[in-house]
Symmetry: C2
C-alpha cells in the first residue's frame, strides 16, 4: 500500500494528487500558498501550507517516511531543484519531478531525481504530431521511430476488407486492433473484416510508414 | 500543405510551435510578451509581438487566412476565451485551445473551439496511473477500460518463454510486441522468445486484467 508526498499544487500537481487520492492512495500535499492549500483540501488525505525548501519543516512533517515523492513546482526552478535535492537527501527511494525546460530536467536528473516529467512538452509533441497527420487520434511511442497509433478510417479505405487493403504488404504497417464504437475492439481484426465509417484502426509501424500510408489513403 | 497560427508562447505553446516548425510547417506565432517573442524567434517561421485579444491586430496579421489556430494561453482565462472567440469569428476552420481547468474547457467548447486540450491534467492522470501500478511505463487508452500498456519485465517473468508464461490464457492479456533495448521491437514476439531483464512488454488488455497480471507477477 503506497503513500505519496507531493509538493506543488499547480494544475499538474493538484491533478496528480486528486487522482491518486481518488484511487484510494494516501497523499500528503504541501504548498507554500495558502489559497492553493484551501482549494485542494478535499482532494488529498492531508494538505499542508509550508515552504518545502526548508529541511526542518520537511522532517517535522515526516516526509522522510514516504516511499514516493512528486515535486511539481514549475516556474521557480531554484525551489524545484532545492526541494528535489532535500527529498533525495532525506532518503526517499523514488522522487519524481516535473521540469519546465530541458536545462531544468538535466539538473534534476543530475541531482538524482528518479524520473523527470515534461508535461507541457510531451503533450505539445503529441498535439504537433496529431496536427501534422490529421487522422491520428492518439499514439504511444515505442521507440523514437516506432509508434502504436490510433487512426480513424478514411473514406478511401471504408467498405474494403483488410485483405483487400493489404496494408502490411504495401506500407509495412501492422493493424493490431480495430475499435468500433465505444466498447467493441477486434484484436486482431480478421482479414475479411470490412472497414466501416467511424472505425478506428490501431496500427504499429514506424512514424514514417504511418505517414506514407495516410498520405496514400487520404 | 498546412499553415498554423499559434497564440501564447508558454512552455506548451512554444513546444507546439517549434515541433511543427521542425517538421517543415509554416508557423505564425503571436505573443504579447516581447521577451517570449525573442526567445522563440528561431523556432517559428514568424514570431510577432502583439495582443491577440485585439481583432484589428489579428486581421492586420492575416490570421483569418489560416486553417488551423492553436490558443495556448494558460493563466489568463479571459484572454484565452476572447482570443478563441475572435478566431472562430474570423472564420478559422479549426481552433484548438488549451484549458487550465474543467470550467475553462467547458467555456471554450461552448464558444465553438474544435478541440480542447488539458496538457497538465492528462499528463497527471498518466503519471498517477503509472505510480499506482509501478511497472507501467506508458499507455494508450483504447476505450475507457481497454488500454495498450508498456510494462517492464518483472524479475518474476524473466528467463521464461511466453509459451511457459501463458499470459493470455491466465490473465486475458495479449502481448502484442516486445521491445528490447533502444531499437529492437519483436512484433509479435514468438511463443518461444525468452524474456530478458530490461525487456518491455507491450500488452493489450483491460486495465483490470493488466493490474491482475502485474499483482500476480510482482
Ligand atoms: N518552496 C515551495 N514550497 C512549497 N510549494 C511551493 C514552493 N514554491 C512554489 N510552490 C508551489 O508550487 C506550485 C506550482 O508552481 P507553479 O505554479 O510555478 O508551477 P506550474 O508549473 O506553472 O504549475 P502548473 O502545473 O499549473 O503548470 C504553486 O502552487 C506554488 O505555490
Ligand atoms: N492577450 C494576449 N495576446 C498574446 N499573448 C498572450 C496574451 N495573453 C497572454 N499571452 C501569452 O500567452 C503565453 C502563455 O500564457 P501563460 O504563461 O499564462 O500560460 P501557461 O499555461 O502557464 O503556459 P505553460 O504552457 O508554460 O504552462 C504567455 O507567454 C503570455 O505572454
Amino acid at each position: 500500500i503506497k503513500e505519496f508526498v507531493l509538493i506543488g499544487l499547480g494544475r499538474f500537481g493538484s491533478s496528480v494528487a486528486s487522482h491518486l487520492h481518488s484511487m484510494g492512495y494516501e497523499v500528503l500535499a504541501i504548498d507554500i500558498d495558502e489559497k492553493r492549500v484551501q482549494k485542494n483540501k478535499d482532494f488529498c488525505t492531508h494538505v499542508v501550507q509550508a515552504d518545502a525548501t526548508d529541511e526542518q519543516t520537511l522532517r517535522a512533517l515526516g516526509v522522510a517516511n514516504f516511499e514516493v515523492a512528486i515535486v511539481s513546482i514549475g516556474h521557480d526552478m531554484q525551489a524545484s531543484i532545492l526541494v528535489a535535492l532535500l527529498l533525495k537527501d532525506l532518503g526517499i527511494p523514488r522522487v519524481i519531478a516535473k521540469a519546465s525546460s530541458d536545462v531544468h530536467g538535466k539538473v534534476l536528473k543530475r541531482i538524482g531525481v528518479d524520473r523527470v516529467i515534461f508535461p507541457e512538452r510531451d503533450m505539445a509533441i503529441k498535439l504537433a504530431n496529431h496536427l501534422a497527420i490529421d487522422n491520428i487520434i492518439d499514439y504511444l511511442e515505442i521507440t523514437p521511430d516506432v509508434s502504436i497509433v490510433e487512426v480513424s478510417a478514411t473514406p478511401e479505405i471504408q467498405g474494403q476488407t483488410l485483405r483487400e487493403l493489404d496494408i502490411r504488404a504495401k506500407y509495412d504497417v501492422n493493424i493490431v486492433a480495430l475499435r468500433r464504437g465505444v466498447t467493441e475492439v477486434l484484436v486482431p481484426p480478421g482479414p475479411d473484416e470490412v472497414i466501416r465509417p467511424g472505425d478506428i484502426l490501431i496500427a504499429l509501424a514506424t512514424n514514417e510508414n504511418v505517414r506514407r500510408w495516410q498520405e496514400a489513403t487520404r
